[in-house]
């Protein structure tokens, strides 16, 4: 490991892992609490369209995703509020729609983008500017979470009660979803579309089985996120596997292990 650390790209990747490994699992606690896990996944898939548009317009993909991801999130939320379609149906429509359109767009480009890099990220290709972007997103995201946490806990507990007590439920939910979409957009370059959901949902879901308090869940989630990223990254250095994929597998193995040992907390049918 020590000899790997002399390379800038490895050090950059490790910094990125550290920034992502704490923030995403913390955000994930609220993602599972608000039951918007699949929404986050749908936003991640909108990166196909973002990447295609970036290639078409000659823009930076990272910058383009910062526009397309929140736009997509707002559009889905708008449809959710105005149609009687169940949320899961609407999200499948959205995911398949943006994935199909985005992949078509990417393949029509004169210099097609690497779908593998989009799906599993390119953490070893990160530059210092990407790290600053990640750090900025982490700090803004954490500040937002601290501010929204009491309202999100109340909405997660009982939405109507929160509304009756004066929590501006729709505003809080919209700000949260836009923040979530921006966080997803920033992380795509590093970990890719598929592992983003793994990092958002799996450590928090595992933590939910282990923790006995909300604070405990946050601590467990951050710890498990870091563990998944650390072990996943080592596997990726050892074997020719994209780091995003190995991180997702480690997070899933941790979840399955804990769910099998501690099914009593409600994740599995008793």
């Amino acid at each position: 490991m020590a000899e790997w650390l002399q390379y800038d790209f490895v050090r950059n990747a490790l910094w990125a892992m550290l920034l992502l490994g704490v923030f995403y699992p913390l955000l994930g606690v609220f993602v599972v609490g608000q039951r918007v896990a699949y929404f986050g996944d749908a936003v991640a898939h909108s990166a196909f369209v973002g990447a295609g548009l970036a290639g078409l317009l000659g823009w930076q993909m990272g910058d383009t995703l910062l526009i397309t991801a929140p736009l997509f999130a707002l559009m889905v939320a708008w449809f959710q509020q105005r149609t009687r379609l169940p949320a899961d149906t609407l999200l499948v429509v959205a995911v398949t729609g943006v994935s199909g359109a985005g992949i078509a767009l990417v393949n029509l480009l004169e210099t097609p983008l690497s779908l593998s890099a989009l799906l599993f990220g390119d953490v070893l290709g990160l530059e210092p500017s990407d790290l600053w972007r990640l750090l900025g997103a982490d700090l803004i995201g954490l500040a937002l979470l601290v501010g929204l946490a009491p309202s999100l806990i109340r909405i997660g507990f009982h939405r109507e009660l929160a509304q009756a007590q004066g929590v501006p439920v729709r505003l809080v939910e919209t700000v949260f979803l836009v923040g979530l979409s921006l966080a997803v957009a920033v992380g795509i370059r590093a970990v890719g579309i598929l592992p983003i959901s793994a990092l958002l949902v799996l450590p928090a879901s595992t933590a939910r089985l282990l923790a006995h308090s909300f604070r405990g869940m946050m601590a467990w989630s951050a710890g498990l996120g870091l563990l998944s990223l650390g072990v996943g990254f080592l596997i990726a250095l050892w074997q020719p596997i994209p780091p995003g994929a190995s991180v997702a597998v480690v997070a899933m193995v941790l979840f399955l292990g804990v769910a099998l040992v501690r099914p009593m907390q409600g994740a599995m049918v008793r």
Binding site: R35, S151, E160, Q163, A164, Q165, Q265, G266
Partner: protein, 243 residues
């Protein structure tokens, strides 16, 4: 004294269905008004209209002197609300004290304050328990404690004692009675328990999509009136003791 709730000729429509019409009554400080009627009569809908959670389509609705949608967050702090049934994600680890802190905000950070909040419903022992491990009745007590903590002017209670054992239920209603008599709190309570209504309500409003009757418990809880409201004979045993 200005009424806390003022309703006149209220009409509520959901889709094509008229849920409520011709609803009118007032609730003054220091009154406990029981809202009774059969299942599906529109009682919970009316509470949701009062809280601004549902729109109304005719008539006048005033809560604390304002239309519900004009109420500020400060106004809402003066209203304690306990919903009918608490359905929530039972897989989230959340301690009772964490929930109360989220509901009550920075003014209730200290442990002793939270203990005091739970003391009102005899539930101090629940402070460090996980919310997901509470029984329905225990959870209802925590929510009631949260509703009472900010010393509201108006309490809106939708079947608040469902799932609570008899002793705690009576303790709860005695507490509500004390809030009414000593502090002039106005209380609107939806209840199917007519003996509780007879004992604690100062006035009863009967609805079945429209206003059927209103008056004192002795006037309203009579066999012919109840038969008209529920569609079959209902006998009510009135409590005659005071306080």
């Amino acid at each position: 004294m200005n009424p806390l709730i003022r309703l006149s000729d209220v009409r509520v429509v959901l889709g094509e269905r008229v849920i409520l019409e011709n609803i009118g009554f007032e609730l003054a400080p220091g009154e406990t008004v029981a809202l009774i009627g059969p299942n599906g009569a529109g009682k919970t809908t009316l509470l949701r209209v009062l809280l601004g959670l549902l729109p109304y389509h005719g008539g006048m609705v005033q809560v604390l002197g304002k239309a519900p949608h004009q109420m500020t967050r400060a106004d809402r702090k003066q209203i304690g609300y306990v919903p009918q049934a608490l359905q929530f994600d039972r897989t989230m680890p959340l301690l009772v004290r964490e929930l109360l802190q989220a509901i009550l905000g920075d003014a209730f950070r200290r442990r002793e304050q939270l203990q005091q909040v739970l003391q009102a419903v005899d539930a101090v022992h629940l402070l460090d328990r996980e919310v997901r491990a509470l029984s329905g009745g225990e959870l209802q007590r925590v929510v009631i404690a949260g509703a009472l903590a900010t010393q509201p002017k108006l309490l809106l209670l939708d079947e608040p004692a469902t799932g609570i054992d008899l002793g705690t239920r009576l303790h709860f209603y005695d507490l509500i009675e004390e809030l009414r008599t000593a502090h002039g709190v106005g209380i609107l309570i939806v209840s199917h328990d007519l003996s509780i209504v007879s004992r604690y309500a100062t006035r009863v409003v009967c609805i079945h999509h429209r206003l059927i009757c209103q008056g004192t418990p002795q006037e309203v809880l009579q066999m012919p009136m109840m038969e008209q409201l529920y569609g079959h004979p209902v006998a009510v045993y009135h409590h005659h003791e005071e306080g």
